[in-house]
């Protein structure tokens, strides 16, 4: 992994609270967020989020409940639009192209930026069909058996399910179901995989398996993960973005940097208080 130095220049200042936002400089970012704001109805959920997500790295989004980290994650593949009252402003550039451009089809965005959800949600179909469906509807014409095996191997699930591919995906354990969801996501060959607290419903052993898997997957994909678990962010991520919520209940980005820096040498007092467990 290439080490990049974080600039300590103050790139933006949140006038209302005087909060400072340290933006790490990333060479060749796959995703760039510029002044992203999300509203749910009249509620301003997140304000002026700007940071860059490095290619082939794991970026963790952390922060206390209600700070908008999931909202930010879902703005990266336009999943917020499924909520009728949600409104997003600002730019999210993928390889330099704005996802929110009028000419961009959200269906295509989600095809390239996959997602794994908090609660494992396999389709109520066979294991095979869970993996094959996404590829099939996206027009995959190759050997489906091979793709299913490759995706299940990629999600470290093949050895556990190879003899029961035609049993229901719901017959698996929670951790296996979550890896099935990861296999399903990588079967459509996305560039980026978003994970919204993927381990919060899993036991510690299943959690470690998913974390190991993330380290493996990041060689081919870029991963952005929302987590409540700071140890998980410290163990599994390369970069960390720390979010907080101000007195008006609006989420904002406090600090974004190498995970090592965030955890050993935070620039912001709030970050330090949060990672040392003084609140949150």
């Amino acid at each position: 992994m290439t080490v990049q130095t974080a600039t300590e220049t103050k790139t933006s200042t949140n006038g209302a609270t005087g909060q400072t936002n340290y933006r790490a400089s990333i060479k060749d970012p796959i995703l760039m967020l510029n002044n992203v704001n999300v509203w749910y109805g009249n509620t301003h959920a997140v304000r002026n989020i700007s940071f860059d997500i490095p290619r082939h790295q794991v970026t963790a989004l952390i922060g206390p409940s209600g700070c908008g980290k999931s909202t930010v994650l879902r703005s990266l593949n336009r999943m917020n639009e499924l909520i009728p009252i949600a409104r997003t402003e600002g730019e999210v550039l993928v390889n330099g192209r704005n996802l929110y451009d009028a000419s961009v089809d959200p269906v295509v965005v989600r095809r390239h930026i996959g997602m794994v959800f908090q609660k494992p949600n396999p389709f109520p179909k066979s294991i095979y069909e869970n993996v094959a469906w996404g590829a099939r509807i996206n027009g995959y014409k190759g050997n489906m058996d091979e793709l299913v095996e490759e995706s299940l191997r990629g999600a470290a699930l093949w050895d556990e399910v190879k003899d029961k591919l035609h049993e229901s995906g719901l017959s698996l354990s929670g951790g296996q179901q979550q890896r099935l969801c990861i296999a399903r996501a990588i079967a459509v060959k996305p560039e980026i995989i978003l994970m919204d607290e993927p381990c919060s419903a899993l036991d510690p052993i299943a959690t470690l398996k998913i974390e190991d898997l993330m380290r493996e997957l990041v060689k081919k994909y870029t991963i952005v993960i929302v987590t409540h678990n700071m140890q998980q962010a410290a163990r599994a991520s390369d970069y960390t973005a720390f979010f907080m919520v101000n007195d008006d209940r609006v989420g904002y980005l406090v600090e974004h940097n190498h995970t090592d820096e965030i955890f050993t040498n935070p620039k912001d007092k709030n970050t330090e208080d949060y990672i040392t467990g003084r609140f949150g």
Partner: protein, 306 residues
């Protein structure tokens, strides 16, 4: 320690039985609800016993295969049975796709605004409109305005009138079934880059199918027992021939079981009253068979869906 003291002072446990009016209600409420249940059962049983004792002796192969006759002992209901079945097929073919389509639009596509709320309220209102009003509507539109297509008082006019009648019920049942499909399933599909229609076709509809089928078949059972709208559009009471075995059958005059039964009941001769009772038995069997089909389909698709 303090909590323990609090418990000891404020809630001194008393293990003796609850006394007073609370106790009385507790004792009589169980028997009261049992009576309510039995009342329904007793009425149903009395009805069935009466109908079966009158009708069963009259029920025979001859009864099922004969046309109506002015001699009660020779009368049968083959034309009414065939008419009912033909009509219900038309009703299902019209009402199912339109009902499911409307429900899909309201539940999956439409945004929640004043217009959709207006539509929703009116669908609920339509479900409560008396059936004879639908008969008047069918008479004007299907029998008169669309005469060149329907050929007047025919199977297809009756079927479409019944389809109007049960459409609100199908829409409401389908919407309930769609609402029971967890949102996480839709999100899972969309997050893979599927279009909304692909998610609906491959995940949402299969999950909602058992509930949809059950609602539809129960609505069809209601349609097969309805009389008023068909009398309004002028279904005949005396049909002494079977429709041709071709699509043209849909454009022939027809009668249905409830009308045939109604006709027999209103005759003075006792023999016709027995025929009416036998007709009711046939109608009940058809209804129960449809309900059994609904249960079978629901169980079958539920198993497959999981």
């Amino acid at each position: 320690m303090s909590t323990r003291n609090l418990a000891a002072t404020s809630l001194e446990p008393s293990w003796s039985a609850v006394r007073g009016i609370r106790r009385v209600w507790d004792r009589i409420f169980g028997p009261l609800s049992l009576i309510a249940t039995l009342l329904g059962l007793v009425v149903l049983a009395a009805l069935l016993i009466d109908v079966f004792s009158d009708g069963l002796p009259r029920l025979s192969w001859q009864f099922l295969t004969s046309f109506p006759s002015r001699k009660p002992e020779e009368a049968g209901l083959v034309s009414a049975l065939v008419g009912s079945i033909l009509m219900i097929v038309v009703t299902a073919m019209v009402a199912f796709p339109i009902g499911v389509g409307a429900a899909l639009y309201l539940e999956e596509y439409a945004s929640d605004n004043a217009f959709t709320r207006f539509v929703e309220i009116n669908i609920a209102n339509l479900a409560g409109v008396p059936s004879i009003i639908y008969g008047l509507l069918g008479l004007e539109i299907f029998v008169r305005v669309m005469f060149s297509i329907t050929n007047g008082r025919t199977v297809v006019s009756g079927g479409m009138t019944m389809a109007l009648l049960i459409l609100p019920v199908i829409i409401i049942a389908t919407r309930e079934a769609l609402r029971a499909v967890p949102n996480s399933l839709r999100q899972a599909g969309l997050a893979l880059g599927a279009s909304q229609w692909q998610v609906i076709r491959d995940h949402v509809l299969p999950q909602a199918l058992p509930g949809t089928l059950t609602g539809t078949i129960l609505a069809l059972s209601r349609a097969i027992g309805e009389t008023a709208p068909l009398i309004t559009i002028g279904a005949l009471t005396y049909i002494a021939y079977l429709p041709p075995a071709s699509p043209e059958a849909l454009r022939t005059p027809f009668t249905v079981l409830p009308i045939q039964i109604f006709n027999w009941v209103s005759r003075p001769q006792k023999g016709f009253h027995e025929a009416a009772a036998a007709g009711i038995v046939v109608l009940l069997v058809v209804l129960l068979a449809m309900n059994a089909l609904a249960i079978y389909l629901r169980n079958r698709y539920q198993r497959r869906a999981v």
